[in-house]
Amino acid sequence: MTERVVEMRHITKRFPRVVANDDVNFRVHSGEIHALVGENGAGKSTLMKILYGLYQKDGGQILIRGKEIDLSSPSVAIEQGIGMVHQHFMLIPPFTVAENVILGREPKRGKIFNDRKKATQDIRGLSKRYGLIIDPEAKIQDLSVGLQQRVEIIKVLYRGAEILIMDEPTAVLTPQEVEELFTIMHSLKREGKTIIFITHKLKEVREISDWVTVMRDGRVVGVVKTEETTEEELARFMVGREVLLKVEKGPSQIGEVVLRAKDLEALSDRGLPTLKGVSFEIRAGEILGIAGVEGNGQTELVEVLTGLRKVKKGRIVLGGKEVTNASPRMIFESGVAHIPEDRHKRGLILEYSVEDNLILGHHYKPPVRKRLLRLNFKRISENARNLIKRFDIRPANKELLVSSLSGGNQQKVIVARELSRHPWLLIASQPTRGVDIGAIEFIHKKILEERERGKAVLLVSAELSEVMSLSDRILVMYEGRIVGEVDPKKTKEEEIGLMMTGATQQVASSK
């Protein structure tokens, strides 16, 4: 029988607004791949950050290889052979791979200087042993997300970790890269490493893990052996009720072309071409889904369409009006609403109240504004009261800072504001990212309502199942191009998944 390498007992962790871990017991045995699953905010990352010494527990005990350890800082964890690949990469973009890897544990030459040569050699050695091919001299900012993740893993191995914590490592990978990652994980396991693997994708749990711990609301609600369970059972565990993720979609009337994009080309923030000639149309009454692995130009496409990024080439015509490189305000004036992918960065002013956030974008014109630039406060609170009720925003207090709302309710604020504009075209980007199941259902319902009212919707999501269930038509994006158009009713997820990796190209059939 294998050793119990990690044992966390009665762990409690409180944050000012929530109890993130509530009397959690969690144990892992050596040499296993142990999946940790649960909804957003269930407390998975918190638990792992405690194990890595980043957070300090408010109560409980941690035993590593049977010995109680006070994990007061990551250094202690590293000493104990624990390594962590974070959900948000902890890499320093302007540094090289080698610099990132050796940071904090630099090989020295003459007791003073960094020994670059040795660092490079060490990394090459690790690369070879685990199949993690990488150029040690490359700068992080020039690497793809998948390669960056490799660096994270090498960082951990370089420190001699025996226990690897991987927080949602697959969320940002292409299916291809996921496969590569799994191969690496298998080879790590063969070398005797223990892996704790956090994911939202139950398929992956099935594929790679030996054991599963399920968390809900800060508590552990189940520990099961992977081969003795099913995806359905895990889902039930996670949510606490039977889940029906099927969306009820009514019929709709396809109408005029609302938006026409032609040969769009644009550069990324770093000045590299990311849109390489994208063309499509959206008609009234349809939901056009854009599927693709993140980082293939979807973000830039949405920004270009909403005026947040300039195009190098191409044209955008909205309801017969040219809006190429128009300002966000002009595009909004032409009847476009936008649910942005990053609600913290774009969608909300976190230090503004709910009611103030509910006027962002139409704060400058009547009826919100009166004469002499004066704001119409009566109107603003009326608007807030209305939307809070209609969109069930909780708590129903318009004066709260929006930052104090839960992610799901923050997203509802954005959806409420954008839909209250009565747009012709709704551009929804990752509309349900990081929100709980209740809110997901609600937002899906609202998007479908727009479609039934004869509005056009452009839906961009990394969640293939979301795109599949909502869209009338799906465009697949890969490396800044549209590589195919499919009918979700007639296509299997696997097929689209394959297209997302660029494996198959399909000529857009509808044109």
Partner: protein
């Protein structure tokens, strides 16, 4: 609990100020004086008689303008370190209009001169604004550089063209352009140059409050200050609001000239401001970047500044500069322990079980 937070927020700076005075007391002891005696002098000399009060208000007036300028820019996410330069250019322009347009009647000339001060400041602040908006040059450095350039430029104008013989000031502005002193209606204030620009300063505070919190423009500027990317998403033109913010901030700084040129000396004098622009940064911060706070902080600094003169006979007046620095340091350093304390309170209430129900 909300109440306790509010109370704490008011009392923390107050405690910091008191603590700063205690530390200042140590300096007084070091030079062998009695802190109680010195502080007694300081307060009785400033607040103990009408003239002292008037002097404190007079000293506070320019600080309100510059503090307001810094606070306004800060609210919109910009750091205006260049008030000093802006106020010189603004004041010069105000004076220039005042002594060239001598034929005009007062009801025209006074507003024109005030406008001149604002325009001068706005132009000088607008340059860093444009450099930031168009070229991404950091305003902290550019405004500092603009200070040096403003000093050199006004010196050039004075020394080469506009100075009265043997002096470093311009000729006087027209009689009708002069702003009356308050001592004309409150004889008790006589001797103090306190003038109506003090009310202009209060009015400016109100207008800034109004713009920031009551208008769509203020909504936009504050939004840019809090989150440029969300503001861009919300259709706000960021470059435009950066330039506008700097211009308004500079215009506020330029109003210092109204107090000095139109209300006190009646001419522009090289180097008259003596660091009022830099002090504005401290005033703004101490006032938590709110107009009311700026007024209170300006009064405190005005008190210290005039008080320095009063205790000059007993202790080096630099004690006051040290005191001001300590006040700033204590006030900014105390906000973190204050936040921590609030967090702890919240966590404690959570632990007591009230929390379980509040989740989502």
């Amino acid at each position: 609990m909300i109440k306790r937070e509010k109370l704490l927020e008011i009392f923390t700076p107050l405690l910091a100020v008191i603590a700063a005075f205690l530390v200042g007391g140590i300096f007084i002891l070091i030079i062998g004086q009695n802190p109680i005696f010195i502080y007694g002098k300081l307060f009785s000399g400033t607040l103990g008689n009408p003239y002292g009060i008037a002097q404190v208000l007079f000293k506070a007036t320019p600080l309100i303008f510059t503090g307001l300028a810094v606070a306004f820019a800060f609210r919109a996410g910009l750091f205006n370190i260049g008030c000093e330069g802006q106020l010189y250019i603004g004041s010069f322009l105000a004076a220039y209009l005042g002594f060239t347009l001598v034929g005009l009647p007062g009801f025209l000339l006074i507003p024109l001169c005030i406008l001149g001060g604002m325009v001068g400041g706005a132009l000088w602040a607008g340059i860093p604004g444009i450099l930031k908006a168009k070229r991404g040059a950091h305003e902290v450095i550019t405004t500092i550089m603009m200070n040096f350039i403003a000093l050199a430029l006004t010196n050039y104008l004075i020394v080469r063209y506009f100075h009265m013989p043997e002096t470093v000031h311009t000729q006087s502005i027209a009689l009708v352009a002069r702003i009356p002193r308050l001592s004309t209606i409150f004889p008790k204030f006589s001797g103090s140059p306190l003038n109506y620009s003090f009310f202009l300063a209060l009015l400016a505070c109100f207008i800034v409050y109004y713009i920031l919190w009551k208008t769509s423009l203020g909504y936009e500027l504050r939004a840019v200050g809090l989150s440029p990317s969300a503001s861009e998403y919300g259709g706000i033109n960021i470059p435009k609001s950066v330039i506008l913010t700097m211009a308004i901030s500079g215009a506020l700084a330029g109003l210092v000239g109204v107090n000095y040129v139109m209300g006190y000396k009646y001419y522009f004098e090289q180097g008259f401001a003596g660091g009022v622009g830099f002090m504005g940064i401290a005033v703004a911060l101490l006032g938590r970047n709110t107009p009311i706070g700026v007024i209170l902080a300006a009064l405190l600094f005005g008190l210290l500044s005039f008080g320095g003169l009063i205790i000059n006979a007993y202790v080096p007046k630099e004690l006051v500069e040290i005191l001001q620095a300590i006040v700033i340091i204590f006030v900014i350093a105390s906000s973190k322990p204050f936040r921590d304390y609030i967090m702890k309170l919240k966590k404690k209430t959570l632990a007591q079980g009230i929390a379980g129900t509040s989740k989502e």
